[in-house]
């Protein structure tokens, strides 16, 4: 829980672990296609997919299997090929979110106000956090906190790499 407090050059911090893994896989991805038609959009889209998977995988590996979400993410990455299915699921999620927001206005008034969280938002969060489908609310919030921290680290590192290559 407290392990994300990155001191500057700590080699065992989550940040540097993720950075090393991600850079290594990025260089592998870049080394694989030396002379293909690399500027066509489909090719770039394929590369995008691979980089995305590499980012997720290196994030999950640097968390290791301590967390439920990292285990679930690794399992998902292992079982599904890195195709277009995640695109589909994300659009579905967005649709259901809009549907549920309409319902939300009715249910939020009926559910109790003293600390009882209505289940609609919790279900939305379950769809977002990997492996959150089978969790109760307390564990879900716990995993969400850690997942947010890791995503923040991931975004920071990737942003710096991107800024490094396209200033």
């Amino acid at each position: 829980m407290n392990k994300y407090n990155p001191p500057r050059m700590n080699p065992s911090s989550l940040r540097s672990r993720f950075a090393t893994r991600f850079l290594r896989s990025l260089s592998e991805i870049n080394a694989q296609k030396p002379t293909a038609s690399s500027s066509s959009p489909t090719e770039i889209f394929r590369r995008y997919r691979r980089i995305k998977v590499a980012a997720d995988k290196s994030m999950a590996y640097s968390v290791r299997s301590r967390r439920t979400w990292s285990r679930a993410m690794l399992w998902k990455l292992r079982t599904r090929p890195c195709g277009r299915r995640s695109v589909k699921t994300s659009t579905i999620v967005r649709k259901t979110r809009h549907e549920k927001q309409n319902k939300n206005t009715t249910t939020a008034t009926t559910t109790g106000e003293d600390g009882v969280v209505s289940g609609v938002e919790a279900d939305e969060l379950r769809e977002l956090v990997p492996g959150g489908e089978a969790m109760d609310l307390y564990n879900l919030l716990d995993e969400t906190a850690h997942y947010i921290k890791c995503l923040t680290t991931q975004v920071q590192v990737m942003k710096k790499i991107a800024d490094f290559y396209s200033p």
């Binding site: 889209f45 995008y48 969280v117 919030l141 790499i161 490094f164 396209s166």
Partner: protein, 346 residues
């Protein structure tokens, strides 16, 4: 065995009644601490006798009224159905005699726990007990009110729970030592139910709200929102924005020069050297990739990408990396955005 248990409890009730009588006969101003001690002692005593109970199987003493007990001097009559187990009464009384509400809660949980092992009959009783538990809680409440009125005479007591609790702890530390490791400490306020289910529910709710507070510190812009539904919405938005930022950044990395040779060590040190930057400072920067909001999202993206990160050191950008960059590798954001959307929806 089935009959011995209520009788033991009635015996306790009788004793407690006596303690009440002695207290009410004129000395209760000076004896409140004594009462608390007495109540705590009785509570531990009840646990002990519950455990001893199978040995007292043959003990038969006839008490005149099995179903009804009257506490005339208090002006409260407790009525029970004759079919119901009369030791429910004990909950109310012991709850009041050890007046602090946490102690009452503890007592009930401890009893529920200790009654588990006693087998089939006690299971039936517990079932009946659940039916009457609300009644017991109501009576418990009224007794507490009377107690509070009594103690209002002493102006130093602000709330009946805290000061009494300290006394209680001071005076029978032995009994509390025996009881301590068995329960989770839950504070039940007046009028709250004290059966084990609602206690567990309360513990769960407290844990959840603690997690929510932690998440509130983590998600920017979440401090102003009150209400858990709004906070959860904000958390969901934040997670989604972060996930989309990752997608966008990997898109950007894919669009950058593919043939670029990474110098891992160099880049790694550079990545490590940068100060930690808050990623998204405002909820205004949240990214929404709905097709209708494309323009807004693009500007937001530009702001998030370009604004907060300041490159502290540009000296390393000169030699090795730029020598390998192709001119075709520069993509501007519009092109990226189009490609991104094309990728999402095709």
């Amino acid at each position: 065995m089935n009959r011995a248990l209520p009788e033991m409890l009635q015996w306790q009730q009788q004793q407690q009644q006596q303690s009440y009588f002695s207290e009410l006969s004129g000395v209760f101003r000076s004896q409140i601490s004594h009462l608390c001690f007495d109540g705590g002692f009785m509570s531990s005593d009840s646990v002990v006798t519950r455990e001893v109970k199978p040995d007292n199987n043959g003990l038969e003493t006839a008490w005149p009224e099995p179903g009804k007990l009257e506490m005339g001097s208090l002006g409260l009559g407790f009525e029970f159905e004759p079919c119901g187990p009369s030791y429910n009464m004990n909950y109310a009384i012991s709850g009041t005699s050890s007046c602090p509400p946490p102690a009452a809660a503890e007592l009930v949980t401890g009893k529920m726990g200790s009654a588990v092992g006693t087998g089939n009959e006690s299971f039936k009783k517990r079932k009946a007990d659940k039916l009457q538990n609300s009644k017991a809680a109501v009576e418990d409440d009224s007794m507490k009110k009377i107690k509070a009125y009594e103690e209002d005479g002493e102006s130093k007591i602000t709330g009946p729970s805290n000061s009494n609790k300290s006394k209680h702890k001071k005076e029978n530390s032995k009994a509390s030592e025996v009881q301590k490791p068995d329960y989770i400490h839950v504070r039940a306020r007046r009028g709250q139910a004290t059966d084990s289910h609602s206690l567990a529910e309360r513990v769960r709710r407290e844990k959840i709200s603690e997690r929510m507070k932690y998440l509130q510190d983590l998600v920017p812009g979440c401090n102003k929102i009150t209400g858990k539904a709004g906070m959860l919405d904000e958390i969901i938005n934040y997670v989604q924005s972060l996930q989309r930022q990752v997608e966008f950044l990997s898109m950007k990395l894919a669009a950058v020069n593919p043939r670029l040779d990474f110098n891992i060590d160099n880049l790694f040190t550079k990545v490590e050297e940068f100060p930690a930057v808050q990623v998204v400072a405002n909820p205004i920067h949240y990214l929404h990739f709905n097709p209708a909001q494309e323009v807004v999202s693009e500007t937001a993206l530009r702001r998030t990408i370009s604004a907060p990160v300041t490159i502290p050191d540009t000296s390393f950008l000169d030699s090795s990396c730029f020598a390998q960059i192709q001119p075709s590798a520069t993509w501007d954001d519009v092109e990226l955005q189009n490609l991104y959307n094309a990728g999402r929806f095709h």
